[in-house]
Amino acid sequence: MVSTRGEVSQLLELIHEGDRSAEGRLFDLLYTDLRRMAAHQLRNEQSGHTLQPTALVHEVYVRVFAHNPPETRTRSHFMALAAQGMRRFLVDHARTRRAEKRGGRQEELPLDRVFTYDARKSGEFLAVHEALERLRQWDPRQSQIVELRYFGGMSEEEIAEYLGISSRTVKRDWAMARAWLHAELSA
């Protein structure tokens, strides 16, 4: 059901060797996993309220690497891709919901249970996503840092490792981007 470590490791190796298409394939793989796991968890009455987006990312990670944690670089790369996947998943979902509400359709994705649990996030992440798209036009790195941290739950150190910059720079960029996003979102 879920991608195996072998598959994932192979793709990660290809990525390290500079194969850009491997990154795309790994992303697709992870994204499929995320969707499948989300759907599975949401069908399960019991777990409805304990599911949270980043938890899914972690779960994908744990399922792939449970018995054999990868080295830091691989891990951060994996997490970054998962963060992107999560972001796309959430945005897709939020858009579907919005369309459903307009069109009066309710059946397909009962995902709102996930997001209403963390009420703070439910309205926030679509707005964050849209603001990040704008920020990307003049500072793609800051936009990516927010993505990794907010959607992927990565730490400053991991982000620094992944982007090949210092933690201090990550901190500075984060402070600036956060102020801007807060200003935008509260406008």
């Binding site: 899914l56 972690h58 944690p69 739950g153 600036m176 956060r178 200003a183």
Partner: protein, 945 residues
């Protein structure tokens, strides 16, 4: 916005946000003057305004690893998640079921985000190590530590209840409950303080109310007192703790036991108040106010608070730590003093040679001494527990396997060190949920040492060297982590087997002096290992093997091994004693007592170390119920070896046997506090409390037994406690649960207890049916000894019901099936005598073993008395039975005397005796194995007549 504009904006943003908030406006204005683009300045102003958003803003969408756990998930292949209990700073706590043991546990999983944070992780690990060092009913018990998907987890005792913080939302705590909780809080703290641990973050949300029990949680902030190496964890001056409950000195980054005393007292005052008494203004303002001005907290206490608590609490809340009680134990002593002087004098007695000094000098000395000692070696203190790991014998000569026993016996002479009793190995491995059959490796030994709070661990290897042997020894000091704090190595050469004893002795002396034992004690207790054990290595090896078998639960197999050891050296006193122990536990009392008797003789002939001699003499005296002679031997043991945890417990038991229950309670209690609860110590304490009918204090002790995994024993006491309060339904539930035990012996005892409890409520027919079924089951399970005990009980009930024939038949049957233990002979002879067969009784009495000692003298007098009564000679009967009663243990119902007095026409005295039985429910439960059903019920019936 262009990338260039944004870059410029970021520069300005950083420049302004670096300034303290009050200077930012000025900085902004300076920027406005220097930068020509007003829209850029406007944007900057907007960003500055939003530069410190709510910390929740953009916090990563929570991804606690713990939250990926759902009901049904299984951690580490054995803990099945049931539900989420709470989510806190570092992770989440779940309820889970341990599939391996079928027990519910709480499991705390640290969030992966934090698992990557080394400092936090260290703190988490510390919590585990520290909490493991303390075992107390009022401290949350930690079981295991492991890792799941890269995140550490720990399993703990599952507590049902609410935190004190939640509880206080619904108003103050009623006074009756308050005093009980206050005691528990200080009791738990006292145990932590005794282990050298300060909590540092006591607050209502860290105190769990599980039914009547208060449990201190979260030792995550706790750390050993004055441990220099820990300084790195929290920088000095850094605030640790929660401001609302913090002691004044904690504001300066200082803390010790007295800070906990302060916080605990503050919490206790708050528990009685409707609302917090302090003004709003935040924790820091209030903490500063408390630190800078004196408050009379007594005015916050409602009028019903006992005077002793009022003054003690006020003292606990002194601003100056030096003016507060030194630790939680002192608080409890202060509260108890006016009521119970015994406790104080006894604690002094148990602590042995410590001189009495004034509190101020004690404080001063403690500063110097503790500081000095910790600078030298944190672990060195008298009473240190030393553990001798099984030696690695690489010589190929199996006879040297006994070297471990030789070294243990030699070290056990020390008055400073406690040598860990290897009998506890099986128990320790079981508690650690480890395989008991396999031999522990070095890592496992260190884990056991950590868990058992040992200070030293000794490893040894014996290998051939030239014509002789090399004995390599490594002594490790165990701190609070699995890695040893320090270690010392030594290698000795021995030219042959005899010289090897000298090498062992040399090693023992070296370890004792390394551990800080003084020269006087070293030479006072300095017998060579071959003198205190045996000079035959072969016998020693067999002894070692028997110990191993016994620790693994195979007592029966240990018997022939010990017998072979004794053939090699008949004067091997330790082996004699051990054989006596095992034989008696197997109901082979005549042989058992004979071996004990010989062991005592050998001990008196100085074939043993002083420690072993005192142990053997006193234990033998206790077994034959010679309490009066046991007491001085035990007092000698306690005073010569004040660090031995067993001696005060045995002393308590000797005092109980003589009816000195006040002192017994005090000593048992103080041993629990000093050495931590053990199964034996807790059982003694329960017996002592029960003898004083202090029912309310027993429940926490039963819980302590449960924590020690002594579930059957806990169940037994729980049933007794219920029956004592005439809640027979609860008693029956507990005993039935015991009766359902997979262990035939435990189940059989459950049946016996159930019969006694049913008879006590007057359900005699029910009791008879239970016993009849129990006999069948026991015999089917091969438990003949227990079957014969039940047959006696049933015979007694049949006799009471007037069925003389079946009573006699059962009595005869009891003797024939059970190998006729002294107890069964006494019972059967009594039943025969009371049911018209005086001759049969006399015949049986002749079969009674000729063992000396009050226990057997009482039995013989009782049989003679019953026979005299059966022959109509009531005066003689009363005379004999009075003599029996005089020698009998204090908490025996002695209904035999009441009956004889009644027969002899002395109604008044009979009434008094029956009254005593009816009024003292504990009597029938104290040594319930020897009790016949219905003793109290019949006494009550008699009184009604």
């Amino acid at each position: 916005m262009t990338p260039e504009q944004w870059k410029k904006l970021q520069e300005l943003f950083e420049e302004v946000t670096q300034k303290p908030p009050q200077e930012r406006e000025t900085a902004l204005q300076r920027v406005a003057e220097a930068v020509p683009d007003p829209s850029l300045v406007e944007e900057l102003r907007r960003l500055i305004e939003h530069s410190e958003p709510d910390p929740e803003f953009l916090r990563p969408i929570q991804g606690l690893g713990a939250e990926t756990l759902r009901p049904g998930d299984v951690i580490a292949g054995r803990f099945e998640i049931v539900r989420l209990i709470s989510r806190g700073g570092m992770g989440a706590v779940f309820e889970a079921v341990d599939r391996k043991l079928g027990e519910p546990v709480a499991i705390k999983v640290i969030a992966p985000e934090y698992a990557r944070d080394r400092k936090l992780l260290e703190r988490f690990l510390r919590e585990v190590q520290i909490a493991r060092r303390v075992s107390h009913p009022n401290i949350c018990r930690i079981h295991d530590l492991g890792e799941h998907a890269g995140a550490p987890y720990l399993t703990m005792e599952l507590l049902e209840g609410e935190t004190l913080a939640t509880r206080l939302e619904h108003g103050p705590v009623p006074l009756e409950e308050w005093e009980n909780l206050a005691r528990q809080l200080f009791d738990g703290l006292a145990a932590a303080h005794a282990a050298g641990i300060v909590h540092r973050d006591l607050k209502p949300s860290n105190l769990m109310l599980a039914g009547p029990r208060l449990v201190i949680l979260d030792f995550g902030l706790a750390r050993p007192v004055l441990n220099q190496e820990d300084r790195g964890l929290t920088h000095s001056g850094m605030l640790v703790g929660t401001l609302d409950w913090m002691a004044p000195e904690q504001l300066m980054g200082e803390h010790d036991e007295r800070s906990d005393v302060y916080s605990a007292a503050l919490i206790l005052v708050r528990m009685l108040k409707q609302k917090p008494w302090e003004n709003s203004g935040g924790g820091l303002v209030n903490a500063l106010r408390r630190a800078t001005s004196d408050t009379d907290f007594r005015k916050f206490l409602p009028p019903g608070v006992p005077a002793r608590w009022r003054s003690v609490l006020q003292r606990c809340l002194e601003r100056e730590p030096a003016r507060r009680p030194a630790n939680a134990r002192t608080v409890l002593d202060l509260v108890a003093r006016p009521r119970n002087m015994a406790a104080v004098s006894v604690s002094r007695f148990v602590q042995g040679r410590a001189p009495r000094i004034s509190a101020a000098i004690a404080f001063f000395l403690a500063l110097i001494f503790v500081g000095f000692r910790y600078l030298r070696h944190p672990g060195f203190q008298t009473g240190s527990l030393i553990m001798v790991a099984a030696a690695n014998n690489a010589t190929g000569e199996t006879r040297f396997d006994g070297i471990t026993s030789a070294l243990r016996a030699d070290l056990a002479q020390s008055s400073d060190l406690n040598v860990w009793d290897n009998q506890r190995l099986g128990e320790a491995l079981r508690l650690m949920r480890s395989d008991r059959a396999s031999r522990p490796d070095a890592k496992k030994w260190r884990e056991i040492a950590l868990r058992e709070h040992a200070t030293f661990l000794v490893f040894s290897t014996l290998s051939p060297l030239g014509d002789g042997y090399a004995l390599e020894v490594r002594a490790e000091e165990i701190g609070s982590a699995p890695e040893p704090v320090e270690s010392w190595d030594r290698t000795l050469h021995a030219t042959g087997p005899n010289a090897l004893f000298d090498a062992v002795h040399e090693v023992a002396r070296w370890i004792r002096s390394t551990a800080g034992e003084n020269a006087v004690d070293l030479s006072a207790y300095n017998r060579a290992p071959q003198d205190i054990t045996t000079s035959s290595w072969e016998a020693l090896q067999l002894f070692d093997e028997a110990q191993g078998l016994s620790a693994a639960g195979s007592d029966t197999e240990a018997i022939p091994v010990l017998e072979r050891a004794l053939q090699l050296d008949p004067e091997f006193a330790m082996a004699r004693m051990r054989l006596g122990d095992i034989l008696n536990a197997q109901y082979r009392s005549e042989e058992g007592f004979a071996n004990w008797r010989q062991a005592v003789d050998l001990a008196r002939r100085q074939h043993l170390s002083e420690h072993e001699r005192l142990s053997i003499e006193s234990r033998y005296a206790l077994e034959i119920r010679d309490f009066r002679n046991a007491e001085p031997v035990l007092r000698e043991w306690v005073s010569k070896f004040p660090n031995d945890p067993l001696a005060p417990r045995l002393l308590a038991s000797a005092l109980l046997g003589q009816g000195h229950s006040d002192e017994a309670v005090a000593i048992a209690q103080s041993a629990q506090n000093r050495f931590g609860p053990t199964v034996f110590g807790t059982s003694i304490l329960i017996r002592a409390l029960a003898s004083q009918n202090r029912v309310a204090e027993i429940e926490p002790q039963i819980q302590a037994l449960e924590r020690l995994s002594a579930h059957s024993l806990a169940l037994m006491f729980r049933g007794m406690l219920a029956a004592m309060q005439e809640d027979y339904d609860s008693a029956a539930r507990a005993f039935r649960e015991l009766a359902a035990s997979p262990s035939a012996a435990v189940a059989s005892r459950g049946v016996g207890l159930l019969a006694i409890s049913e008879a006590d409520r007057g359900a005699l027919d029910v009791a008879r049916t239970i016993l009849r079924d129990g006999i069948t089951k026991d015999r089917a399970a091969g438990q003949e000894g227990l079957a014969s005990q039940k047959a006696v009980a049933l015979a007694f009930l049949e006799g009471q019901a007037g069925n003389k024939v079946s009573a006699r038949a059962l009595a005869e049957q009891a003797v024939s099936i059970g190998g006729a233990s002294p107890q069964v002979i006494l019972g059967s002879a009594t039943v025969l005598a009371r049911n018209g067969d005086a001759a049969g009784a006399a015949r049986l009495a002749k079969r009674f073993p000729s063992i000396a000692g009050p226990k057997f003298d009482v039995a013989r007098l009782r049989m003679d008395g019953e026979i005299a009564a059966a022959r109509g000679d009531y005066r003689k009967a009363v005379g004999l039975l009075e003599r029996a009663a005089q020698q009998d243990r204090a908490y025996d119902p002695r209904q035999y005397l009441a009956r004889a007095l009644d027969l002899a026409g002395d109604r008044d005295r009979a009434r008094l005796d029956y009254q005593r039985i009816a009024d003292t429910p504990w009597l029938i439960w104290d040594l319930v194995e020897e009790e016949w059903p219905g003793t109290r019920f019949f006494a009550k019936q008699h009184l009604k007549k």
